[in-house]
């Protein structure tokens, strides 16, 4: 069960990669936020 043992390392690596590419991370965050805002505003009408 290497996945269960190694997932914190894998997650940290992935997060480091996301942090390194800040511009992409920032736009992805903005798109996620705006999409969620749109979807939630639709559902809670």
């Amino acid at each position: 069960m290497s996945f269960l043992r190694d997932w914190p390392v894998a997650l940290r690596k992935r997060l480091t990669a996301v942090m390194r590419d800040r511009q992409v991370g920032l736009y992805a965050l903005l798109l996620t936020g705006s999409l969620l805002l749109f979807l939630l505003s639709e559902w809670h009408r």
Binding site: D21, V24, L31, T32, S34, L35, L36, L37, S41, R45
Partner: protein, 253 residues
């Protein structure tokens, strides 16, 4: 608690997909239009929150038609990204290679010699060595030759008087499969600014397939080598030989 957890999972999934989309399109012209989606979603969300429910249909129509228009207008970019994903994610070499070390060495020497001759005489040339990805789509655009590669043959193909000089020579194993082939041009903006069509074609083919392309500049006689959408400028004969030796070989699969 459960609804918070659900929201978090939902957030992570959407963030993951947004991140993948932006990182794939980072170097392409699609990056800008995709960012505009953020503005559209925020406007739609805010107008919903402000109670302008009548506008909802308009926003939905706008988002979908915008997405469709982007897909149509940027179809070449999307195609390039798709090919990059499918081809470049498997960097292994080995569909076409020359198993015999001696023949491979002789072939590489011949390629380098051809480039040196063309470079000395300042004759523009573009030679593509096929690797794992089949280049049949591009071979079809030229004239089929199917002859053993030799510096003399390469030289005579690229001579200005030759009807085949204005295009690429595609090589499979140690045979020239076709000459006068038309290749896709590189899409990257910096390539458009910097160089002529021959260099852009050399990079363009390596953006779509894993082959190597060797270009001899008509103006300066300098030899460059492109692979996987990148180009190494002005390479000396020794370095060129070394690079082809490394890149054009069988690897353990």
């Amino acid at each position: 608690m459960i609804s918070h957890l659900r929201f978090l999972v939902f957030f992570i999934i959407i963030f993951y997909f947004s991140y993948r989309v932006f990182s794939l399109t980072k170097d392409s012209a699609l990056f800008g239009p995709l960012r505009f989606l953020i503005v559209l979603f925020i406007s739609a969300g805010l107008s919903n929150l402000a109670g302008f429910h009548e506008l909802s249909l308009f926003w939905k129509f706008l988002v979908f038609s915008y997405a469709a228009a982007v897909a149509v207008i940027f179809q070449p970019e999307l195609r390039r990204i798709y090919f990059n994903r499918t081809y470049h994610s498997s960097p292994g070499v080995g569909g076409h290679y020359i198993g015999n070390e001696e023949i491979r060495g002789k072939f590489i020497d011949d390629v380098v010699l051809a480039c040196q001759t063309l470079s000395r005489k300042k004759i523009g040339a573009l030679i593509v060595l096929e690797r794992k990805n089949n280049l049949w789509d591009f071979i079809q655009t030229g004239i089929l030759i199917d002859a053993l590669f030799s510096p003399e043959l390469a030289y005579s193909v690229f001579l200005l008087e030759s009807p085949l000089h204005d295009g690429a020579v595609i090589v499979r194993e140690n045979r020239i499969v076709a000459a006068g082939c038309i290749l896709p041009l590189a899409e990257r903006v910096e390539m458009k600014k910097l160089v002529g069509t021959r260099h852009r074609a050399a990079v363009g083919i390596t953006e779509q397939a894993d082959g190597l392309s060797i270009v001899v500049s008509e103006e300066t006689g300098k030899v460059s080598l492109a692979v996987q959408g990148r180009i190494a400028w002005d390479i000396e004969a020794g370095a060129l030989k070394k690079m082809i030796r490394i890149l054009y070989r069988e690897v353990d699969r």
